[in-house]
């Protein structure tokens, strides 16, 4: 049972971290709980669907459909995270000041929350489909009872969710004047990490060249299997031995999002509406 719990936990953990950070970052937008919940529900349904379609997806693009599919989901998630961060840098100050009751704001808040819903659904779908596949395989195997498999799965999900919830509670403790800097930095690094992950899949599928693999290897210092390595991987996309293309995607994503945040903050049209 613990074996299955650990595998499910590993998959749940990364999605839970993303949800924890997003839930904290959007805390001043009215009605966000509903959208986050709906995102998780849609993601779980999507995960089961993807797991059921595994053979079909994997067979696409001459056997690298799985990598292409993962890369596409990650690309969309990166765009949504970028949009979120840029939106927050435009409206964060007003939201913090309690200006959210303005009609226009509510409408824009809805659009932002729809993006959040999609983002969370994608994260849950991506991480959940492997768990669904694993649990299904375990149940159809003779060596484990269905009840044991279900307990293990639930335990794994509960542990993963607990991590996300603790992260969320911890972030709420951050003083308001630093809150937006901390959340936007975390989301920025999360997005860059996902972009690097996308590059990883494209290299694994041989769709793009690795541009030297690995570019460096520090697995002797912080192994990917160590608790610190796992945490850093989920939070900032840490890779002990990244390919050149991963590093390139990471830096490019950082640069584009930071430039976007900087531009909207300086843009005169935004200054007018304030």
């Amino acid at each position: 049972m613990f074996g299955s719990a650990i595998i499910v936990f590993r998959e749940t953990f990364e999605a839970a971290i993303l949800i924890g950070i997003i839930a904290a970052a959007t805390r001043s937008i009215a009605g966000r709980g509903l959208f986050i919940g709906a995102g998780i529900a849609a993601g779980l349904a999507g995960a089961c669907l993807v797991a059921a379609l595994t053979s079909t997806i994997a067979a696409m693009f001459e056997g690298v459909g799985q990598e292409a599919f993962n890369a596409a989901i990650l690309a969309l998630a990166v765009v949504l995270l970028a949009w979120h961060n840029i939106w927050m840098s435009m409206h964060g100050a007003e939201l913090a000041a309690g200006a959210k009751q303005v009609g226009l704001e509510v409408k824009q808040g809805r659009r932002e929350l729809s993006a959040i819903l999609l983002l969370i659904a994608l994260a849950v779908l991506r991480e959940g489909s492997e768990s669904a596949l694993f649990v299904y395989g375990m149940m159809s195997g003779a060596n484990l009872s269905v009840a044991t498999a279900i307990y293990g799965t639930l335990l794994g999900i509960a542990a993963g969710a607990a991590v996300g919830f603790l992260l969320y509670l911890g972030m709420l403790k951050i003083p308001m004047r630093w809150f937006f800097s901390v959340t936007s930095t975390l989301i920025l690094l999360l997005a860059a990490g996902m972009a690097a992950r996308m590059a990883h899949f494209l290299v694994q599928a041989d769709l793009l060249p690795s541009l030297k693999s690995p570019l460096w290897d520090v697995s002797a210092i912080v192994p990917m299997t160590s608790p610190l390595g796992i945490l850093l991987h989920a939070l900032v996309g840490y890779e002990a031995a990244p390919a050149g293309l991963e590093v390139l995607f990471y830096i490019a994503t950082l640069a584009v999002i930071v430039a976007g945040m900087f531009l909207v903050q300086r843009s005169p049209s935004v200054a007018h509406t304030r």
Binding site: S55, V64, E130, G137, D206, P209
Partner: protein, 107 residues
């Protein structure tokens, strides 16, 4: 940045056109890998074609190789690795870690 990406894309496409990476086969049967020791050339990109003959999905997982790939039941899928430095790179089938173990030896 855009130029780098375009160049990278063209390099990838020309790579696909040549597509002469050495190819190796790995089979999953009864939740075990065959062969459990696979020798591949070092310092070269290598294509491993993994065939899963079992009725359940398996995930090829290797931290040393930095690779993770689900192989659906009764299916075949390619996995590209390397160029590798000479050495031993252990891997497991994550869904059946007790029996599904192996190592890729680059030399």
């Amino acid at each position: 940045m855009r130029h780098v990406l375009i160049i990278a894309l063209f390099a990838a496409l020309s790579g696909l056109a040549h597509a002469a990476d050495p190819e190796f086969a790995l089979t999953i049967r009864d939740h075990r890998f065959e062969p459990s020791e696979l020798r591949v050339p070092a310092n070269k990109k290598v294509k491993i074609v993994i065939e899963n003959q079992d009725a359940t999905a398996e995930e090829f997982d290797s931290h040393a190789l930095n690779r993770e790939k689900v192989i659906p039941p009764k299916a075949k899928a390619p996995l590209f690795i390397g160029p590798l430095k000479p050495g031993r790179y252990p891997f497991v089938g994550e869904f059946n870690e007790k029996t599904a173990k192996g190592v890729i030896i680059a030399e």
